[in-house]
């Protein structure tokens, strides 16, 4: 992943360039990532309009996404298919907003709708601060964190120190 961004930025020596280009041509997953990186870069440079039809691409992507099949009260098998066109429309609005103000920073949720996680990681725009858990929602989340930590190898190594996260009295940290 790191090599792809170096390749994009022209930071690799020529022999390495040709090697990585060969890898790209053989590995469809890498090739897709290469496309994503370019898309992200272009969007950040406000060049996207000239290169791709983002709205169409996003709509197509949403159509291709697996439909969520969730049990519903009384309507066990209802498929949430109606939500898709609406979601695409919303995404269209988001894309429009994003492109018209490329210097502003998209929130994490918006970005996630539009791009693959790999692309977010690679482009790493400084996203808006993550909201700390509000006090009223805290109880359930605390319970979940405690339940989670039983199964986390990281917590196994940290021992009881992991509990400090749920005891932390200052919930108001603004950035990570």
């Amino acid at each position: 992943m790191e090599k792809i961004s170096e390749l994009m930025d022209g930071e690799l020596a020529s022999d390495q360039c040709s090697m990585h280009i060969r890898r790209l041509s053989k590995d469809p997953q890498l090739a897709r990532r290469w496309d994503h990186y370019h898309l992200i870069r272009d969007v950040l440079r406000a060049e996207a309009g000239t290169r791709v039809d983002l709205v169409a691409a996003v709509s197509a992507r949403l159509q291709a996404e697996p439909t969520i099949l969730a049990p519903r009260r009384g309507l066990q098998t209802l498929i949430a298919r109606v939500a898709l066109p609406a979601a695409a429309a919303v995404a269209g609005v988001v894309v429009g907003g994003w492109l018209s103000a490329p210097s502003s920073q998209p929130g994490r949720a918006d970005l996630a709708k539009l791009t693959s996680p790999a692309a977010i990681t690679a482009a790493a725009p400084k996203v808006a601060a993550v909201v700390p858990v509000a006090a009223q929602a805290n109880g359930q989340v605390t319970e979940y964190i405690l339940a989670h930590q039983e199964f986390s190898p990281t917590s196994a190594m940290h021992g009881a120190a992991s509990y400090v996260r749920t005891l932390s009295f200052k919930d108001a940290d603004s950035t990570q």
């Binding site: 090697m19 989670h148 120190a161 009295f169």
Partner: protein, 326 residues
């Protein structure tokens, strides 16, 4: 990373050299892996008591921790030294949270830990697939000699870790989680510590007299491993499901589905419950220290995904939760 270039350069002459590199790498890696196992074992089996500093974002907090282990099991106490007085006491499978400010004590039962070893052998194997693991320098921490271990993630779906373990016992003296921009997400460090003698069972008992406190018996009363009908369709590469269970709560009609995915070091938990009608919930991305939490309502369910992993990982999992049926 650099070594990989050498391996990829074509030429027969290099083959022998490459074999040497691979062998050296596996030897180099087995040692730090053994360190990780020692750390996990030490955290559970040693008696220790000390003060540590917890740092997350721009916040710094001091707490005291005591851990006692004998034939009857594990006893732990964590107490905050800054701000309102709060304590967490663990007696084997029971966790008690004491909130000194609101005079509330909350009791929760947990899944017996002995059913789930701290670090499973296949977890250690997947760990080396997802992280570059190597030993670092020796450093002095809280008066002890420590061996540093560096776990560098192979992609952006996990945080980097640096661990400092006490040389003779393996006890973790300092731990740091680092994001892809080399920023410290979270750090624990002991400033004072006693290992072994002097730590008693009594030092893990609560400091509060709770006669007139409010008691909350909330929390899952029991859990049952097995198929929940739910799945995560596209979890980030390297994350495998390590646990699936139903959690039952007193008074609740439906159980909460709990799925755990791990890359050998970081874990992400997925909770699916019926959409709450009385309780408020905060939609979207939040965090507590290095634990990112993403809450997403479905038409009739609420999905909460959390773990000590970057937001992108937690969100990708939340967005691909799906019901496959039972």
């Amino acid at each position: 990373m650099r070594r990989a270039h050498v391996v990829l350069v074509p030429g027969l002459v290099l083959l022998q050299f490459c074999a040497g590199v691979v062998l050296a790498e596996s030897l180099e890696q087995s040692d730090p892996l053994a360190w990780l196992e020692r750390i996990a074992r030490a955290a559970r089996q040693l008696n220790y008591s000390g003060t540590f500093v917890y740092q997350h974002g721009d916040q710094v907090e001091t707490s005291r921790i005591t851990h006692y282990f004998d034939r009857t099991g594990e006893y732990e106490k964590l107490e905050t030294l800054d701000g309102p007085k709060r304590e967490i006491i663990r007696n084997n499978n029971e966790i008690l949270t004491y909130d000194g400010e609101h005079r509330v004590v909350k009791r929760e039962k947990r899944t017996p830990r002995r059913n789930f070893p701290a670090l499973l052998p296949d977890q250690l194997a997947s760990l080396t697939e997802n992280y570059n693991l190597r030993k670092g320098e020796h450093e002095r921490i809280a008066g002890y000699d420590a061996q540093a271990l560096i776990l560098q993630p192979r992609d952006g779906f996990r945080y980097g870790h640096k661990l400092w373990a006490e040389v003779t016992t393996g006890l973790l003296l300092k731990a740091r989680m680092i994001d892809e921009n080399d920023h410290v997400v979270e750090q624990f460090v002991f400033t004072q510590l006693i290992i072994g003698s002097g730590v008693t069972r009594d030092s893990t008992r609560p400091s509060f007299a709770t006669g007139d406190w409010r008691r909350e018996p909330a929390g899952p009363d029991s859990s049952e491993p097995g198929d929940t009908g739910w799945t995560v369709k596209s979890q980030p590469v390297g994350f495998k499901k390590v646990m699936e269970m139903k959690r039952f709560k007193t008074g609740a009609q439906s159980p909460v589905a709990h799925l755990v995915y791990s890359d050998g070091l970081a874990a992400v938990s997925v909770f699916i419950e019926p959409l709450p009608t009385k309780r408020k919930f905060q939609e979207g991305l939040t965090h507590q220290g290095a634990v990112n939490i993403y809450t997403r309502p479905l038409p009739d369910q609420l999905v909460t995904v959390l773990g000590e992993a970057p937001a992108v990982t937690v969100m990708q999992m939340a967005n691909s939760v799906s019901f496959k049926g039972q």
